[in-house]
């Protein structure tokens, strides 16, 4: 039952600090490794040349944007079910980082689209769902900010996150269906089935780096929230 021991903000505070420091260092190391692989080990792409290297940011950021939302919803649900303040704080701490990665995914996707598809924006199913995900994050953050009573804010935002997470697959599939039905020009991310091993390795290393970064940043943010609410 160690978990409930750490459910108290006071006991969680030092633990969070330790984990954050460790994850921060690891994230920096992995990012360095990932960038090295991305720029010096991975070969030039046959069709896209050098521009494809944006993939080492774009795909990990997109993965993080979705992963963080699910984790956020998990903490939100836990907070609603167990009525623990710290769980709700974790959810709130994750939101800004999640929104940031969503924006990064959109930004890098857009800059990748210009040289490859010829335009900064296309209503590609993935970009469109990513945009909607950004709005879901904004909604969560805005709802929390609009409610003054902290307890109501926690619980209302938690419910919103849960409703949102149920909808994310629905939104994704409906947009994908819409996109394939309307597809004029053939646009598809060149994720060739056989991706060079170095490319895949680079993506995974960067994804791990982003993941550890998210953990570190969220834990520091939770520490701030604990201090601010004391």
């Amino acid at each position: 039952m160690k978990w409930f021991w750490y459910a108290s903000p006071q006991t969680f505070y030092p633990l969070a600090g330790t984990i954050a420091r460790g994850c921060g260092f690891a994230a920096a190391l992995l990012a360095a490794a990932g960038l090295y692989i991305g720029f010096f080990v991975a070969p030039t792409d046959a069709q896209q040349g050098e521009v494809y290297r944006i993939i080492f940011i774009h795909v990990p950021a997109a993965w993080m944007s979705m992963f963080i939302y699910v984790v956020m919803a998990f903490w939100a649900a836990l907070g609603l079910a167990l009525n623990t303040r710290l769980s709700a704080m974790m959810a709130a701490a994750l939101a800004p980082t999640g929104a940031l990665f969503t924006f990064i995914a959109l930004w890098t996707g857009s800059l990748w689209g210009k040289p490859t598809w010829g335009t900064y924006w296309v209503w590609d199913a993935r970009l469109t769902s990513e945009l909607i995900l950004l709005f879901l994050y904004f909604g969560f953050i805005a709802l929390r900010a609009a409610i003054e009573d902290p307890r109501r804010a926690d619980r209302a935002a938690a419910l919103l996150a849960i409703v949102g997470v149920v909808n994310v697959p629905i939104i994704y599939y409906s947009v994908q269906w819409w996109n394939t039905l309307h597809q004029g020009a053939s646009v598809s991310l060149t994720r060739a089935p056989s991706m060079a091993k170095a490319m895949l390795a680079g993506m995974i290393v960067m994804a791990l780096a982003f993941w550890l970064y998210s953990i570190a940043v969220s834990l520091v943010r939770v520490r701030c929230m604990i201090r601010e609410s004391a």
């Binding site: 944006i54 930004w107 040289p115 520490r223 701030c224």
Partner: protein
């Protein structure tokens, strides 16, 4: 030519991450001081 896009992507990404870290550091510092020097 395509270097612009690569630079634009990486630069903006790491700038945003750095900004997040910086803002968080400032918030952390304020939270620490607030509790020590507060009433």
């Amino acid at each position: 030519m395509s270097d612009v896009y690569i630079w634009g992507s990486y630069a903006v990404t790491f700038a945003l991450l750095a900004a997040e870290i910086a803002l968080l550091a400032r918030r952390s510092r304020r939270a620490e001081e607030g509790n020590r020097g507060g009433p």
